[in-house]
C-alpha cells in the first residue's frame, strides 16, 4: 500500500509575522517555520496505517528551498521518502494552482491513498485537498479522524457537529483530508533525523512538471487584524443602565 501525504510548511505558531514591502505577503526573513498542524495529523495517520498494514509513506510538499527542513522532519518521524516540488510563488498561487502542482507530482506515483491536512494554518483555504482529489479523479472524504482498512477498501470516521460522528466506506484509491486531534502525535527523534539524511528527496520544478501558474484568484493585499477595544459607559440610574446593558447584550452582542 502506498500512501502519499501532502504537507505544507507554515510560520511557527509563536512566530511574529510582519507584512512585507509589497503588502501582498509576509516578511519571510527571520521567520521560523513548522509543519502545518493538521498535516502533522495526516502524517501520523499515514504512519500508523503503515505500521499496521505495511507499505510505504511518501510525503509531497510544494514551496521554496526552506520547505526542505519540514520535509526532513516528516522523514525523521518515519516517512520513507519525499518529493519536493520547488516553487517560489506559493503565496501567489491560489488553491487550484497549488493542487495542480501537487497533483502533477503525485500522479506518477500511482498511490493507493492520498492524505492532506484539512486546511493550512496560514491561508486556511481548506480547498487544496478537495481540489487535489478532483484533479486526481479519486473518491474523497473530508474532516477525517481515523482511517481503517475494510474488506474492499477503507472505513473512515468523520467528525460532525456536536459530538456526532459518521463512518463511511470508501474504495481505494481514495483521497482524504484529515482533521487535527484524531491521534497522539509522535515526537521527532535524533535517530529519526540522522536516518532521514539517507532517505530520498526528489526535487521537481513546476516547469519540469509542466504546470504553469494561471491563478484564478489573486491576493490583492494582506493586513494585520485591527485591535478594537471600545468601551461604552452606560449612563442613567442603575436600573436604566442595567436595562440598557441587557438590551445591548441581547441585540448587539447577541450573547443572551
Amino acid at each position: 500500500m502506498k500512501i502519499i501525504v501532502a504537507i505544507k510548511q507554515v510560520p511557527e505558531r509563536d512566530a511574529q509575522v510582519r507584512i512585507d514591502s509589497t503588502g501582498k505577503w509576509i516578511e519571510e526573513t527571520d521567520l521560523q517555520w513548522a509543519l502545518n498542524e493538521s498535516d502533522a495529523y495526516a502524517l501520523e495517520e499515514a504512519l500508523q496505517f503503515k505500521e499496521q498494514h505495511g507499505g510505504e509513506v511518501v510525503v509531497v510538499s510544494a514551496g521554496p528551498e526552506r520547505v526542505g527542513s519540514t520535509i526532513r522532519e516528516a522523514l525523521a518521524k518515519g516517512a520513507d521518502r519525499a518529493i519536493h516540488t520547488d516553487c517560489n510563488d506559493l503565496g501567489e498561487r491560489d488553491a487550484l494552482g497549488v493542487a495542480r502542482l501537487l497533483a502533477a507530482a503525485i500522479r506518477t506515483e500511482q498511490p493507493d491513498l492520498v492524505l492532506t491536512g484539512l486546511q493550512s494554518d496560514d491561508l486556511g483555504y481548506g480547498q487544496t485537498g478537495v481540489i487535489l482529489a478532483e484533479l486526481l479523479g479519486l473518491p474523497h472524504a473530508s474532516l477525517i479522524l481515523h482511517v481503517e482498512k475494510s474488506e474492499g477498501g477503507i472505513t473512515v470516521k468523520r467528525e460532525l457537529e456536536e459530538g456526532w460522528f459518521q463512518n463511511i466506506e470508501l474504495p481505494l484509491p481514495a483521497a482524504l483530508t484529515i482533521q487535527s486531534g484524531g491521534n497522539k502525535l509522535r515526537y521527532a527523534t535524533l535517530m529519526g533525523i540522522k536516518r532521514a539524511k539517507t532517505k530520498e528527496v526528489r526535487r521537481l520544478t513546476a516547469a519540469e512538471l509542466g504546470v504553469a501558474d494561471e491563478p484564478a484568484v489573486t491576493l490583492e493585499r494582506i493586513a494585520m487584524p485591527q485591535k478594537q477595544k471600545s468601551t461604552q459607559i452606560l449612563s442613567g440610574t442603575p436600573q436604566e443602565a442595567a436595562a440598557a446593558l441587557v438590551e445591548k447584550l441581547k441585540f448587539e452582542v447577541r450573547v443572551l
Binding site: E12, R13, D14, L185, Y187, T189, L190
Partner: protein
C-alpha cells in the same frame, strides 16, 4: 637505644616443604583472584572509549583522590560513625601494605624488615596501632551490618560480608598476637601460617564480592569526569546515548563494577523514598548484571532485563545519589544517558513527555503557551527590551514568563534591580533553555533550542544574564557549552546577596525556613547567598535535610511536566518536612520548587506556612513607589 618491651615474633626458619607449600598456595590464590578479576578488567577495557574524556589536567584528579580516597573525607562526612570505622579499616590496610609484603617475603626467606632494626620496630608498632584501630573498626561495621541493620544495606544479610569482616579481624588478631609470643617459637610459626592462610583466602574472594571496590574504587575516583552531572557529548552519527551494551563506556563499566552497595544513593533518593521503581543503587547493579550477562559489545537493550524502562524516567535528577556516592560513581550521566537512549530512538512512549516535546518542537516554551502571553506580560510590567545598552539581560525563563507565580517572582526581582539602579532588559523573544529536554534525553530538541537561544543572545550582544531560575542558570552555563559559548550568567540569589548592604530590611521579623533547590545547591554550590538574603528578611530556620542533603521538591529532570504516577508525592514529603519546622514562611529560590511546594503545602493543612521566593522576601521591604506597583498588578491579572 631504649629497650622496647615487645617485638614482633617471626618463625625461625622455614623448611623446604613449607616454602614450597607457601609458594604453591600463593600462586593458587593469585590465580583464583585473576580468574575472576581478569574478565572484569577485560569487560571494562573492552567498553567503548569515553567521548570527551580528558585525563589532564591532573591537579583536580590528584586533589579528589587525596581528599576522597586517602583522607576518606566523603565517607566520613556523610556518615560520620560508620565512615570513621571504614576509614580506620582503610588506613589499617594502607599501613599494612609494607608489613604484608615483608610477611610474604619472610615466607620465601627474603624478609627485609628485621624485627631488630629500629625502623622496622617503629613501623611494626605503627602497624600494630592501626591493626587495633582496624580491628575495632571492622567490629563496629560488623555490629552495624548484622545487629543494627540499617535498611539501606538491603533486606538480605550478606554472609560473605560477615565472612570478610571475620577474615579482616582475624588478620589483625594474628598480627597483634605475634607481639606476645617468643620469637622463633612454634607459636610464632603457627601465627605466621594462620595470618598467611587468611590472606590467601581473602585475595580470591575480593573480586567475587563488593570488596572489589578495594581494587577498583581508587581508580574510579581518580578517573571520574569530575563535573557535577557532567553529561558527555554524543560521538558520531550512531551514538544516541545508552541504548545497548555497545554504548557503555569504560567509565560507566568501571563505575558499575566499583559499587560497594552501601546504599547511600538510595538513602537520599527522593524517588526511592516515595515508593517509585527507581533505586539508584539498583541502576548501577543492573548495569553490572548486564555486563556480567551480556558484556560490553552486546546489542541487547539495556532497558529490559536488568533495568526497567520506567526507572530512569522517575528520576528528578536531584543529584543526591551522585553527591553521596563514596566511590565516585556518577549516576546522572548514566541516568540521563539511559533516557537519551530511549528518547533519541523513540523507544520511550509517554503522553506527557510527547506533549512536552511537541510543545517545544512547535512553540517556544515548555508550558505550551502562546508566545504572545509573554509579550503581554512584558508590556504589562513595562520591562525594557534589551538593546545592548543595559548591563543585564533579565532571562525570564518559561516559569518567569508564563507561570503566574513565576511572574510575581520576576516582577519582584525586577523591582529590586530597579531599586538598586541596575540596568536590565528582556529579550523580545526567548525560547526554553532546553533544561527539561536535556534532562529527559531529547538531544535533538535540546540542540535546536540551544542554538536558537545562543543565536538570539549573540544578535542582541548580551554579555551578562541574570535569572530567577536555577535550572535556566545551570543549563545556560554548563549544558549550552556543547553547542557554543554562552554569556556569563548568574542566579538572582547571587546578584541580591552581592548588593545586600544596599537593600532595606523589613520591619517585622518572621521565621523563614529555606528550601535548597537542587540546581542551586548541589549543582552550583550556592548555599550561603540565599541564606544571607533570608537572614536579612527574617529569622533563618534550617530544615532537617538542608544544604548538600536537601530533599528534592520533585520537579527536576523534566518531571514537573510528567505525571507522578506511583507512590507518594515527592513534593508532599518535602512540604510536610518544611511545614514541620514550624516556620511562618517557606523561602524558595527556584520557580519550579515554588510551583511544586505551592500545591503540596496547601495539602499539608490549614496552618500551612506562606511560600515566598527570596526575591519576594527582599521586595517586601522596598519602599512602595507609585510607579512600582507592578507586583500587585500581576496578582490581580491572575
Amino acid at each position: 637505644m631504649v629497650q622496647m618491651p615487645l617485638t614482633l615474633a617471626e618463625p625461625a626458619h622455614f623448611s623446604v616443604v613449607e616454602r614450597l607449600a607457601f609458594a604453591v598456595l600463593g600462586v593458587a590464590s593469585g590465580a583464583l583472584f585473576w580468574r575472576r578479576f581478569g574478565p572484569i578488567l577485560h569487560k571494562i577495557l573492552e567498553s567503548k572509549r569515553d567521548p570527551g574524556f580528558r585525563l589532564f589536567p591532573l591537579g583536580r584528579r590528584i586533589r579528589d583522590f587525596t581528599w576522597e580516597v586517602l583522607c576518606q573525607a566523603k565517607v566520613i562526612r556523610e556518615r560520620p560513625l560508620p565512615g570513621l570505622a571504614h576509614a580506620f579499616v582503610f588506613w589499617g590496610f594502607c599501613a599494612f601494605a609494607l608489613v604484608t609484603i615483608n610477611h610474604c617475603a619472610v615466607g620465601l626467606g627474603v624478609g627485609f624488615l628485621s624485627s631488630e632494626g629500629w625502623f622496622s620496630r617503629l613501623y611494626f608498632y605503627l602497624a600494630g596501632a592501626f591493626a587495633i584501630a582496624c580491628a575495632v573498626g571492622i567490629l563496629g561495621l560488623f555490629v552495624r551490618r548484622f545487629l543494627v541493620r540499617p535498611r539501606w544495606l538491603g533486606e538480605k544479610l550478606s554472609w560473605e560480608s560477615g565472612f570478610i569482616a571475620f577474615l579482616i579481624f582475624f588478620l589483625m588478631v594474628t598480627y597483634l598476637a605475634a607481639f606476645f609470643v617468643p620469637a622463633a617459637s612454634h607459636a610464632a610459626a603457627l601465627l605466621w601460617w594462620l595470618h598467611t592462610l587468611t590472606l590467601l583466602v581473602f585475595l580470591p574472594i575480593i573480586p567475587h564480592t563488593k570488596h572489589l571496590h578495594l581494587v577498583l574504587s581508587p581508580a574510579t575516583v581518580f578517573l571520574s569526569r569530575g563535573g557535577f552531572s557532567d553529561i558527555p557529548p554524543l560521538a558520531g552519527d550512531e551514538d544516541f546515548g545508552l541504548v545497548a551494551g555497545a554504548d557503555l563506556t569504560r567509565l560507566v563499566s568501571l563505575q558499575a563494577y566499583s559499587c560497594v552497595e552501601c546504599g547511600r544513593c538510595t538513602e537520599h533518593c527522593p524517588a526511592a523514598n516515595t515508593g517509585k521503581i527507581l533505586n539508584p543503587k539498583e541502576i548501577i547493579l543492573g548495569l553490572r548484571g548486564y555486563l556480567n550477562e551480556f558484556g560490553p559489545k552486546s546489542a541487547e537493550p539495556l532497558l529490559s532485563k536488568h533495568i526497567e524502562l520506567e526507572a530512569p524516567f522517575q528520576c528528578t535528577t536531584c543529584g543526591a545519589c551522585e553527591f553521596q556516592c563514596p566511590v565516585g560513581i556518577e549516576h546522572l550521566p548514566i541516568l540521563v544517558g539511559l533516557r537519551r537512549g530511549a528518547v533519541n530512538t523513540g523507544t520511550w512512549e509517554d503522553d506527557h513527555g510527547a506533549k512536552l516535546f511537541l510543545a517545544l518542537e512547535r512553540g517556544s516554551n515548555a508550558l505550551g503557551m502562546q508566545a504572545t502571553e509573554r509579550d503581554k506580560f512584558i508590556q504589562k510590567q513595562d520591562f525594557p527590551i534589551f538593546d545592548g545598552t543595559q548591563e543585564y539581560c533579565l532571562w525570564l525563563g518559561c516559569m518567569g514568563a508564563y507561570d503566574p507565580k513565576g511572574r510575581e517572582i520576576v516582577a519582584d526581582f525586577a523591582r529590586v534591580m530597579t531599586y538598586l539602579g541596575t540596568t536590565f532588559g528582556v529579550l523580545r523573544k526567548e525560547k526554553c533553555t532546553g533544561d527539561p529536554v536535556r534532562r529527559l534525553g531529547n538531544d535533538l530538541l535540546f540542540q535546536q533550542l540551544t542554538e536558537a537561544n545562543l543565536d538570539a543572545l549573540a544578535q542582541n550582544n548580551v554579555k551578562k544574564i541574570v535569572s530567577i531560575c536555577p535550572h535556566c542558570v545551570r543549563t545556560i552555563q554548563e549544558d549550552w557549552k556543547e553547542y557554543g559559548l554562552p554569556p556569563e550568567v548568574e542566579h538572582h540569589s547571587e546578584f541580591m546577596a552581592r548588593h545586600l548592604s544596599r537593600l532595606p530590611k523589613p520591619a517585622q521579623q518572621e521565621t523563614i525556613v529555606f528550601h535548597d533547590p537542587c540546581y542551586l545547591g548541589r549543582y552550583r554550590d550556592v548555599y550561603e547567598e540565599p541564606r544571607n538574603i533570608i537572614k536579612g528578611a527574617g529569622h533563618l530556620v534550617e530544615a532537617p535535610r538542608s544544604r548538600e542533603r536537601s530533599f528534592c521538591c520533585g520537579a527536576g529532570g523534566g518531571l514537573a511536566f510528567l505525571s507522578e504516577e506511583t507512590g507518594e508525592r515527592v513534593s508532599h514529603v518535602r512540604a510536610s518536612e518544611l511545614a514541620g519546622t514550624g516556620a511562618q514562611i517557606v523561602g524558595t529560590a527556584c520557580p519550579f520548587c515554588n510551583s511544586m511546594l505551592r500545591d503540596a503545602l496547601t495539602a499539608t493543612g490549614t496552618s500551612a506556612p506562606q511560600l515566598l521566593d527570596i526575591a519576594q522576601l527582599t521586595a517586601r521591604a522596598l519602599p512602595r513607589l507609585d510607579s512600582g506597583n507592578a507586583t500587585s498588578d500581576v496578582r490581580e491579572s491572575n
